[in-house]
């Protein structure tokens, strides 16, 4: 690891990640993340034309050509979508593949006069970044130092995006989340959308040379999507996306240098831009599992907790009804009924019964289950909710009598005392449910 090589690669990677993440958030919120894909593949003919036109590898011409091609791709996609009434995905796929094909042909035709490599467009050449440096410094503040030349355009685009997004923050947010409302309030949602498109095109053009189109796509979409899993507010989402993009770039380069060595031994490394894309995807995958509240693990846990609560409540209800009917509540019978009724396996059943005992809601004396005083109150509340719902549904809705039980069975678990008393007021002075059982 050295500043001259790794530091510069990381610097360019982080700058590209930040530049992509800014417009990326708005694209992903609008559900148009793959526009980045279309634009970054479509710059190929622009680069080829830039070469043909100027006959040189001066980066100004590549930039002009790529920028024109990028904006053309965005405009054509929009035209196919609105005039041709194609689905947006199909429009994107049509435009970028055709432009890519034109680019390939142009490159093969001109291969003798200019050496350009379509691979470079796909993969980028971030490893070559340290070879081309310029001295830069602001003497009083910043000592003069060697910085990679590729950093320039990326930083310029990053700056422009940051300024535009800061200035239009309120409007862009409105247009992204509710284009209809934006229009009725008098904002031109279409123009705001075009602003984001132009920023995306500029970002793709500035980034593809250094990091390649594939990493550009990933850095547009992945940090924004990851941030959207972690937060629901726009400002934190943007900040998180910037942070995650930067982290992915650093992680990507470090793993490109170290991981192949661990796996294969010896001094091998691999493509940094490829690994940066993998790192961005990896961070997303981690967030899918670990995101608080919305991650797979958190969702699983809250579902399981809900299932446990429902099972415990069903067990309480069953004991109450057995008591009401005066049936035997011996251990085997209760377990058998619970397994059949509540449909839980013997192991979960064991846990449910144990937890009910811990909370002093039920007691088991001489192999027979009984509700405690507290348990009886809770169970009565549940059975009351169940029977009130059955009564209400039978009088106020068209649910057939045979289906009342299953509907009430679900509703009883989400009915609090307030709702129960509201139901009681609704059904009036009734003390028996449609099956003729007493409402507690």
């Amino acid at each position: 690891m050295s500043w001259e090589v790794d530091g510069m690669v990381i610097l360019v990677g982080v700058a590209a990640a930040l530049a992509c993440a800014l417009p990326g958030v708005f694209l992903v919120v609008r559900g148009m993340g793959l526009m980045g894909d279309a634009i970054s593949h479509a710059v190929l003919p622009g680069i080829a034309l830039g070469f043909l036109f100027s006959g040189s590898r001066e980066s100004v011409w590549i930039f002009v050509g790529a920028a024109i091609a990028g904006v053309t791709a965005a405009v054509l996609t929009q035209v196919l979508h609105s005039v041709g009434r194609m689905e947006r995905g199909a429009a994107i796929g049509t435009v970028f593949t055709v432009l890519f094909a034109i680019g390939l042909i142009l490159m093969v035709r001109t291969a003798d006069s200019v050496e350009i490599d379509p691979h470079c467009v796909l993969y980028g050449a971030i490893e070559l970044v340290p070879l081309d440096t310029v001295a830069f410094g602001l003497p009083p503040v910043l000592p003069e130092m060697q910085l990679p030349a590729a950093l320039g355009p990326i930083l310029i685009v990053l700056g422009i995006s940051a300024i535009v997004i800061a200035l239009l923050w309120k409007e862009l947010r409105l247009a992204c989340f509710d284009p209809g409302l934006a229009r009725t309030l008098g904002f031109n949602a279409g123009a705001l959308h075009q602003v984001i498109m132009v920023l995306t095109a500029a970002t793709c053009v500035a980034c593809f040379e250094a990091v390649g189109s594939v990493m550009t796509v990933t850095f547009i979409v992945a940090p924004a999507a990851t941030a959207l899993l972690l937060s629901r507010r726009m400002l934190p989402v943007v900040m998180l996306a910037l942070l995650l993009g930067g982290v992915a770039a650093v992680l990507g380069h470090i793993s490109a240098v170290t991981v192949p060595g661990w796996l294969l031994g010896g001094d091998v490394d691999t493509s940094s831009s490829g690994m940066m894309a993998v790192a961005a995807g990896g961070l997303f995958l981690i967030a899918v599992f670990l995101a608080p509240g919305r991650g797979v693990i958190a969702t699983r846990r809250s579902l399981r907790r809900l299932a446990a609560t429902v099972a415990m409540e069903d067990a309480l209800g069953l004991l109450y009804r057995l008591h009401e009917r005066g049936e035997a509540r011996d251990d085997a019978h209760v377990r058998h009924l619970l397994e059949a009724d509540v449909r839980i396996g013997p192991r979960r059943l064991e846990r449910v019964l144990r937890r009910l005992q811990q909370r002093a809601l039920v007691v088991c004396t001489n192999g027979s289950w009984d509700l405690t005083e507290q348990g009886r109150i809770e169970a009565a509340g549940l059975v009351r909710a169940h029977r009130l719902w059955e009564t209400w549904l039978s009088t106020r809705s068209s649910v057939p009598a045979s289906h009342l039980h299953s509907a009430a069975e679900r509703l009883e678990h989400v009915t609090d005392p307030d709702l129960a008393s509201a139901l009681q007021r609704e059904v009036g002075d009734v003390d028996h449910d449609p099956h003729g059982r007493k409402i507690p």
Binding site: D37, G93, A101, L104, A111, H119, Y123, V268, S271
Partner: protein, 435 residues
């Protein structure tokens, strides 16, 4: 200059090598058209994009594994098995991640696409460093190498195409259900997840077959473009599929012929451009949703609407009198140019005559005008009495509806409103001060 004889030779498959290439790209085009239609109708057009990018790490991974096992790293069936596995994995990951996160499709697809292609690039760099590995040529999977296809490739593509056609024919009904009403399919107990899986498998198979021929980026075009082009010609499922297949096959045939005739034209790219030409022709000339047909109908409608506006304006102002252009312009929000155009056309069709001091309705124009005014006012009265809309607001609504009221609807309005044969009075003051 290319001799005509050469063109005929290639088109008619007289030369063995080019015949092989032309036939296999045409077959591939057909299969891709069919599979692409299914993806497009399922609104998953870009899934092809994801899957094809994701085959790259599969190809490189298979190469590394085979090399490590001491086999020939570039054994084609092995590479294609790797590509199929990673393509299927990507398709599965896309739908699993969508279900797990609830994020929009495009974000998930972008991440799977980018991360898997990035992994491929990184593995490729490692493969280059492997001792004794000759990975050169693996990259041809990205761009394709049509010209150097051999008999085995052609046979493989042929078998694959037959497989795709067979599956699509056998499961035609099921796929149709899947594309148009998945929820209904689930509710009648059909295994929709299984059909979805079969569909994914078909798409992945076409992509893997196409890797050799046109490369992983341009095969996306063969999946999406013929299907999109076919949609402009027909709304029927079977026809869409057949015509997409034909467009794909024709593009493959013509494209590889062109590239065989002219050196330095990569076949894959030419095929895509031929495809794009078919697409543009379809978009313009398509008999179902083509732009020319749509614009023609719009133009005719706007002509009719303008005529009816003119006749109503003149009739409301003064059925018998002579009117100047300025008076007519003040009647509604239209430009003097529009009024003059309308008057010129009406003169041609005999609805108005030109007087020294202006324009006047002819007998024929008066009858049509009367009819339109009556329809307009009937609708206004209907809105006032039956839709509770204030009299000051009914004019605009009626202005839109008057052009599409047919005689049946008018008869129902008459019976609803107990209208006599005469034109009712306007329920609101008229524009321009006339009564």
């Amino acid at each position: 200059m290319i001799a005509t004889g050469d063109i005929v030779d290639v088109l008619l498959l007289r030369e063995y090598n080019t015949a092989l290439v032309v036939l296999s790209t045409a077959m591939l085009g057909f299969a891709a058209g069919c599979a692409g239609t299914l993806l497009l109708l399922r609104k998953r057009a870009l899934l092809g994009d994801v899957v094809s990018h994701a085959t790259f790490p599969g190809v490189v991974g298979a190469f590394i594994v085979m090399q490590a096992m001491g086999l020939d790293g570039k054994h084609l069936p092995g590479l294609l098995v790797g590509a199929t596995a990673s393509g299927l994995a990507a398709a599965w990951a896309t739908s699993a991640l969508r279900k797990a996160t609830g994020l929009k499709n495009d974000a998930i697809m972008g991440i799977v696409l980018g991360a898997s292609f990035g992994a491929g690039v990184a593995m490729m760099a490692i493969a280059q460093g492997l001792p004794g590995g000759n990975q050169a040529g693996l990259e041809s999977f990205i761009y394709g190498k049509t010209a150097s296809m051999v008999r085995d490739d052609a046979i493989m593509i042929g078998i694959g195409t037959l497989g795709v056609i067979t599956i699509s024919t056998l499961l035609c009904k099921e796929f149709r259900l899947l594309c148009f009403d998945e929820a209904f399919g689930c509710s009648i107990g059909r295994p929709m997840t299984l059909f979805d899986g079969v569909l994914m498998f078909v798409a992945v198979a076409v992509i893997v077959l196409g890797l050799q021929a046109v490369g992983l980026i341009l095969i996306i075009a063969l999946l999406i473009i013929p299907a999109s082009a076919a949609r402009f010609w027909t709304d029927r499922f079977t026809w869409t599929m057949c015509s997409a297949g034909v467009i794909g096959a024709a593009s493959g045939w013509i494209g590889s012929t062109i590239s065989a005739l002219e050196a330095k034209l990569p076949a894959g790219a030419v095929i895509v451009l031929v495809c794009a030409t078919c697409f543009m022709v379809s978009m313009l000339a398509g008999t179902r949703h083509g732009l020319i047909r749509r614009w023609w109908r719009q133009w005719r409608l706007s002509r009719r609407v303008l005529r009816q506006h003119l006749l109503r304006a003149m009739h409301e102002r003064s059925p018998e009198g002579t009117l100047g252009v300025d008076t007519l312009v003040s009647m509604r929000s239209w430009t003097p140019g529009e009024v003059r155009t309308a008057l010129r056309r009406a003169l041609g069709s005999g609805d108005v005559t030109q007087m020294p001091d202006g324009w006047r309705l002819t007998e024929q124009g008066r009858t049509s005008g009367e009819q339109i005014v009556r329809n307009h006012r009937l609708w206004e009265l209907f809105l006032i009495h039956h839709a509770d809309i204030a009299p000051s607001h009914v004019d605009r609504d009626a202005d839109l509806v008057e052009h599409v009221l047919d005689s049946q609807l008018v008869a129902r309005l008459e019976s609803l409103l107990d209208a006599s044969a005469e034109t009712p009075e306007s329920p609101h003051p008229l524009e321009g001060g006339a009564s």
